[in-house]
Structures are given as C-alpha cells and as structure tokens.
Symmetry: C2
Subunit: 337 residues, 2 copies
Amino acid sequence: MGVVIALEDKAQGPGITGLLALVAADMDRVNQTILSRTGSDVATIPEVANHLISSGGKRLRPMLTLATSGLCGYTGAGHIKLAASVEFMHTATLLHDDVVDESDMRRGKLAARMLWGNETSVLVGDFLLGQAFKMMVEVGSLPCLDVLSTAAAVIAEGEVMQLSVAKDTETSEDDYLAVIRAKTAALFGAAAELGPLLGNRPKPEVAACRGYGFNLGIAFQLIDDALDYGGTSAKLGKNVGDDFREGKITLPVVLSFRRGSQQQREFWKRTLERGEIEEGDLETAIATLHKHRALEDTIERARHYGAMARDALELFPTSEWKLALNDTVDFCIDRVY
Amino acid sequence: MGVVIALEDKAQGPGITGLLALVAADMDRVNQTILSRTGSDVATIPEVANHLISSGGKRLRPMLTLATSGLCGYTGAGHIKLAASVEFMHTATLLHDDVVDESDMRRGKLAARMLWGNETSVLVGDFLLGQAFKMMVEVGSLPCLDVLSTAAAVIAEGEVMQLSVAKDTETSEDDYLAVIRAKTAALFGAAAELGPLLGNRPKPEVAACRGYGFNLGIAFQLIDDALDYGGTSAKLGKNVGDDFREGKITLPVVLSFRRGSQQQREFWKRTLERGEIEEGDLETAIATLHKHRALEDTIERARHYGAMARDALELFPTSEWKLALNDTVDFCIDRVY
C-alpha cells in the first residue's frame, strides 16, 4: 500500500492526460485552498501539513470530485472546497496510518512522524480532519456532509479492522477486501459522489458516480498491492518491497499463502508475521508470488472492479468528462505494466 | 433467478459427479430427515412442503454442508440435521418469494401458492423455518445456530432490499450485488461454514469455507441470471424468460440498460418496469443483451467470484473433498454453456 507513482511520470500515456487537462483550472483553485487552509498560528501545523501535501501525491481523490462535478454539469464553486476536504481527509489518514504502522518513509520522503514525532502526526491529522469538516460546512450541502462524514467513520472503522487482520497471513480474500473497501474505496466513492450531489442529479446518477469511484478505489488499491512487489515487470521500481518490509498482508500475499506449500507458508509467516527478514527474502517473496501467479491474478481481480467502475458510468451520455473518467480506469490499471 | 437445471441432466459432465458420489450416503439421510420433518397432523403442511421439496431442486446448499464436513474431517452426525435445516430455510424462502413475486410457476410445476393460496404458502414457509431452527437446536452447536440465524436475518433483509430495487431498471450493479449477497450468497456461505464449525476447525478454515460458499453463491446466481436469457447458446431452455416475464432486474439487464441507447432503455422500462410485454419482446430482449455483451460479461463477472471461491479453499491440503468442491465451481459456471 505504500507505492507512490508520480502522475507526471505517466502523463505521457493516454490514460490520465484527459482528466488532468479537464480539471487543471479547478485543481489550481483546490491547491490554493489546500495551502491557505493549512495556515495556523501554531507553526508546526503548516510545516507538517505541507511536508506531506507538497510531496507529490496523486490528488486522484479530489480530481474525482472535480470530474464528477463536471460530468454532472455543476456550475457552482462548492466542488473546490469539497475536493480540498477530500484531500485533507486523505492526508489525515496517511499521517495517522504512518503512526499506526510505524512507517519510516512516505512518498519517498521521511514520514512526518520521523521528523516531528508520533504525537504531532496524530494531532495534525486531527487538525486536517477538523479543517475538512469546516470547509464542508461552509459549502453547506447536507447531503455532501452526510456522504463525507459517513466516509470518515467508515475509514476509521477500516483502520481498526485492519489492526485485527494485521500480520495474519491466513487472512481471507473477503476479509482483506472488507478492509480496502473501508480504507480506500469508501473515500474514492464519496469523492466521486459529491459531483452529482452538488449538481442535484437524480439518485441513479448519484449511485453511478459512487459506484464508479468505489470500484475504481478497489482496483486502484489492488494494483498498488501488485506494484509494491514490482507488478508483472522484471525491473523493480524504487518503492518495491515497502509492504513486505512492513509486514503488510495484501492480496498478492493472501493468494500466494493459500496456494503455497507448507514451506512457503512458513516463509510468509516468518517474514511478515514475525518480521524476521533476511538478505534475499524480498527476492524470494517476489519469485514465490510469480510462481503462484499471485500478482497476475491480483491484477485480474483489479480488472473486474475496473469493469464495474466503467459500467457504473455507462448511465451517462458520452462526454469528454465520461471519456476522461473511463481513461482513468485504464490508467489506474495499466500503470502496473 | 427462476431457472432450474436438474442435477441429473448434467451429471454426465465432469463437474458435479465427484461431489454427488462423495455425499451420496449422507444425502440419503438428509432426504429421510427432510421427509420425516415435514410430517404434521395438519395435513396441508406435508402436502405443500412435499410439493416443493419433491420437485427436484438441486439440493446444492445442503450438499455444501455435507461436503465441508467431509473436508474438515467431521465424524459426528450433526451435519445431517444441519444440512436438512439449510434446505428447509431455502424452501421457506422459495415459498415466500413466490408470494412476494406473484409467481405462477416454480421448478417447472405450478407454484404452491397457485394450488393452496398465498396464506398457506406464507405459513408453511414459517413452519419450515420453525422446523429448521428446531433441528439446529437439537444439534446443539451454538456457533452453528449463530451462523444460521444470522443468515436467516440477512436473507429476510435481502428480500426487503429487493422490494426497493424491484422494477427499477436504473438499479446499479453494486445495489444488485448487495441483494444477491443477502438473498443467495449468505445461505451458501452459511451452509459451507457449518462443516468446519462442527469439526472445531481453526478460524481461518471456517473463514475459508464461508468464503468458498459465499462466492460460489454469487457466481451461481449470476449464472442463473444469464441462463434465464438462454446463456450464450442460441438454443433456449424451457425456463428461458421467466425473469423477463416477472420484471426481475438481474445483472444482464443492469448492464444492458446502462450500455443501451435511450430507445433501448425505454424498451426495458416498458417491459420490466411497466410490465407491458408484447409478442416478440423476449426475442428483442435477448438480442439486445447479446448486442451489449451483457450475458458474456455477466458470466465474466461470475468467473471472478468463482476464482475467489477456489482461492478461499486453497488453504486446505489436497483431498477428494477439495477436488470435488473445486469441480463444483466449474459445474456452476459451465452449465451456462
């Protein structure tokens, strides 16, 4: 779950360029809002917040809010603050996650907790959540508040759920899915649902956008899981192995553990449950995953959710927004190759 | 959701023969239990119950209980009564479903409500549910009681959920999935979970069997949905079109509606929402489904859940039980071709 692919690196591909171009002007306003809303007399707050916010995350979630607002013909300004809220909620989750997971690195930089400590990371996360809710209230849409506050509760629930499956190599695929539905897909779904809600669109369109975001979120996370072990390519990116070193149980491991021999299961238990990682273990892990086609099948599973995301959106007539959102599904999946 | 494929017709195939052979002796005892437990001084009760029970259903659900009991090395006798309970719960659902859906036919015969009336169908369903719980209590396993009573509540919840999506062609795939998870997959999952619970197996094995049954149930239902429109074959079986005539919204329709033109969406609204079905409409419906690859993609979605079912079971060492259960996944999907 720890791989960062800078959007810019992949912007040459056909996948995300359409979306980037369509939301560019709005995204500038979102970024300005984000910067102005991390301001505080308590100097640590903007320092910590900007450390993470300026470190080149994808901003895919706020883009979904902007894009479905465009798709649904919304012409107001509420989507800017809501998109910034979504990014703040996401950033707060990352700050808290790193404390819970005791992570050292985030987006290729030292994690905030390594620079300012765990306490500060937790509290700045809370500050960002508070700012997110303040902005939502300023927009004043109760349906949007409902969707985002529900997502916040679900995400927190997902974090707690993850504690219970953490380091358990016998985690089932269904249990793992329940975690990423809550931890990742819920916010993707909420972000995408805001557009039709702002635009006062009928219920089926609201459900369609939520379904698009939600299933895209699952696909996105599964691809992240595969990327963390290098995806299907032989050459490994710079963040490969983060999940392995942190003992995270992701779908490739779930599949490989189940399909493996007693000896291979013992390998996963030693490395991921007990954290006894030796020289060469990451290479063994990757070889084992390939042997069981665990990465290929994780991608195959992601394709299923990608197809669901695409079909959810089919309710809408053809438009540049719809095309860009469909291309985003391809982008999220194709970045694994 | 109304297609019945007699198991016998397909027994020549490689798919289900292994399972049938392994559970044959136990299944005889389940059938005897079912017959003896429909007895009542109120003559209508055995009449109605046996009308449905003797009409050649698949008994796939109780077979799952027997098979996972075998898989988990259970040597007691509790699985017989629990398997009979599962079949009673299923039969009760069918009786109630036919009343709710105002169905005329069930398993190629007149529905019980056509012969004895709605009131009797509802009450005999309740009687069967009562008998199911009595048998569970006799077995005396609290974990099994927990699983089955939870399933009963979830199924009922699914029925109510279905009322709210009924006749709505704009139903999303996620909403439809939520219905079949509750209406179909929950009982499949519960049935399969009973074996490891009876055998006092560790939690991951319990979760594995539940995951197997649950995902098999989704795959099974999606294939049923595709079969109701003739599957991918040109020649149509005898029950083709039941869902269409009853205005049921199933995944092929969900996909075709979303992918369709305004004119095609109006067709689905007229036929399924308003129930205005004219000569040749079923043929038009099937042609439209094929045009949108809606049946092919429904089967593709089913394959995804089939793969999840198979991987859930991978936790267990190779055995004739495991092989038979894996073949059952193929059987459930391959019957569409």
